[in-house]
């Protein structure tokens, strides 16, 4: 209770109808920390990170993000969301806007950055994710991996303090996964606070300080990637790892 992290779950519960999708979650993510969340499907890991930027509301407990308590009338959720990037499994790029327009939309309208300045920054970000030549392409003209890199650039355009990734590579063809992971590694190495829902163990070993394993809405185990992958402590995590390692 004494130290406050960048993201602080304290006894958080959430129900979908009768289903207890988050059970008494307590978890603190420090500034610049990268936490990988994994677990079987339906374990609540997506719901967990969707709560952080208020895409899902929590039922009880406390969730404090960047010093602001969610659900508190004093917390301006729209303002807080500008500090949190969110990368979706299905990219969710705006199909009627070009790659550059996708990146500059929020900086121009939310941050009120002058258009020329936003476009300059947008081009730099697209170059950084390896898409300098796709600035004027529409999402439909890009591959899945390229779309997801634009989506990451779109988040970075807001210069967020936190980035959340919801299975960012699950919808991708295998040969495109590494180009997205490479960008995520680069973001992590610049010191971004990140929560990443993924089963990509290579990524977890490379940049994560912690792996959190969830099952049936509860955090079952948490430890360094090395501890978790090499010496899982619970039967459920062993069963889970044996399934994802088989492939």
């Amino acid at each position: 209770m004494t130290k406050t992290g960048m993201i602080d779950f304290r006894g958080v519960n959430k129900w979908f109808g009768a289903l207890n999708v988050l059970k008494d979650i307590t978890l603190s993510v420090e500034p610049r920390e990268v936490v990988v969340v994994c677990g079987p499907s339906g374990s609540g890991k997506s719901t967990l990170i969707r709560c952080v930027n208020g895409l899902e509301a929590i039922k009880d407990g406390d969730l404090v993000v960047d010093g602001q308590r969610l659900g508190d009338p004093a917390t301006n959720m729209t303002q807080l969301r500008t500090e949190i990037g969110f990368v979706f499994q299905s990219f969710n790029l705006y199909p009627h806007k070009t790659a550059l327009e996708n990146v500059t939309l929020a900086p121009i309208h939310v941050r009120k950055t002058p258009r020329a300045e936003a476009e300059k920054a947008g081009r730099e970000l697209l170059a950084k994710v390896g898409l300098a030549d796709k600035v004027n392409a529409y999402p439909a003209q890009l591959s899945g991996g390229q779309q997801q890199r634009v989506a990451i650039a779109r988040c970075l355009g807001m210069r967020p303090k936190i980035m959340l990734f919801d299975e960012p590579t699950s919808a991708l063809d295998p040969e495109m996964i590494s180009e997205v992971l490479d960008v995520m590694v680069a973001v992590a190495e610049e010191g971004m606070t990140m929560m990443v829902v993924t089963h990509e163990m290579g990524f977890a070993r490379k940049v994560a300080q912690r792996v959190v394993f969830m099952d049936a809405g509860a955090i079952v185990e948490s430890g360094t990637p090395d501890e978790f992958f090499s010496h899982p402590r619970t039967d459920r995590s062993r069963a889970f790892l044996s399934k994802i390692l088989r492939h």
Binding site: R81, F86, F88, S90, N92, P95, L105, V110, Y138, P139
Partner: protein, 224 residues
């Protein structure tokens, strides 16, 4: 005899022009107002507020479920009983605008609902305000779904405007009634009235068809 009737009809052309003019002006004003109002209602209908959404829904159902003739009589003949005196033109505009707004509200609401939730979530997550989400992300995508039926609805509404002749406005249909008293050939007169409506509506029918094709193609191209 037919020839004489033609001569006599030709003499009525200033009246016919006035009628077409009235139909066009009436339609134009109420379509513009109805479109603005309809978009507003459609946005509110799909917005978060349940009460507002259901009040609008009930009103739209009521208007869509009653004959336009009855609505126009209520506005023109019944409102004065409550001290609201309207001239026929104003009453016609109000009735047509209301009708247009109700149909357009449903078209717009359907368009907005067709935009995937993920789009709204992405806009939400990047901190766009409610209006910015609507203006920058939802409406441009909804327009693809909205435009073809919207223009089709315009055609229906222009034809519905003929009902205002019942409260004495000299639109194209009423001109038909007036002329037929002098030229006793109903078939010929109302055939020409029909041609008049067709001339006004046909360009819109063509536009709707073109939009449908273009939007269909664009959808395939831009789909995620």
């Amino acid at each position: 005899m037919i020839w004489q009737q033609f001569i006599s009809l030709a003499g009525s052309y200033p009246l016919a022009l006035r009628g077409i003019g009235m139909t066009v002006v009436l339609s134009l004003i109420s379509l513009v107002l109805g479109t603005l109002l309809g978009f507003g209602l459609g946005i509110l209908r799909t917005g978060g507020n349940r009460l507002i959404a259901s009040v609008i829904g009930a009103w739209v159902d009521l208007i869509r479920g009653t004959p336009f003739l009855v609505q126009i009589f209520l506005i023109f003949f019944i409102l004065p009983e409550f001290g609201i005196e309207l001239d026929a033109f104003t009453a016609g505009i109000i009735a047509l605008t209301n009708l247009a707004a109700c149909f357009i509200c449903e078209i717009v609401a359907a368009g907005i609902r067709s935009v995937p939730t993920g789009q709204v979530e992405a806009a939400l997550a990047s901190g766009l305000s409610r209006w910015q989400r609507m203006r920058q992300v939802v409406l441009p995508q909804a327009m693809r779904i909205v435009l073809p039926p919207l223009v089709g609805q315009y055609v229906l509404l222009i034809k519905d405007s003929s009902v205002v002749s019942a409260i004495g406005l000299t639109d194209l249909t009423r001109v038909g009634w007036l002329v037929v008293q002098r030229v006793p050939n109903g078939l010929l007169v109302f055939f020409l009235v029909g041609v008049g409506y067709f001339i006004v509506c046909y360009p819109l029918i063509m536009l709707a068809r073109r939009l449908e094709r273009r939007m269909g193609a664009a959808h395939g191209e831009v789909q995620l």
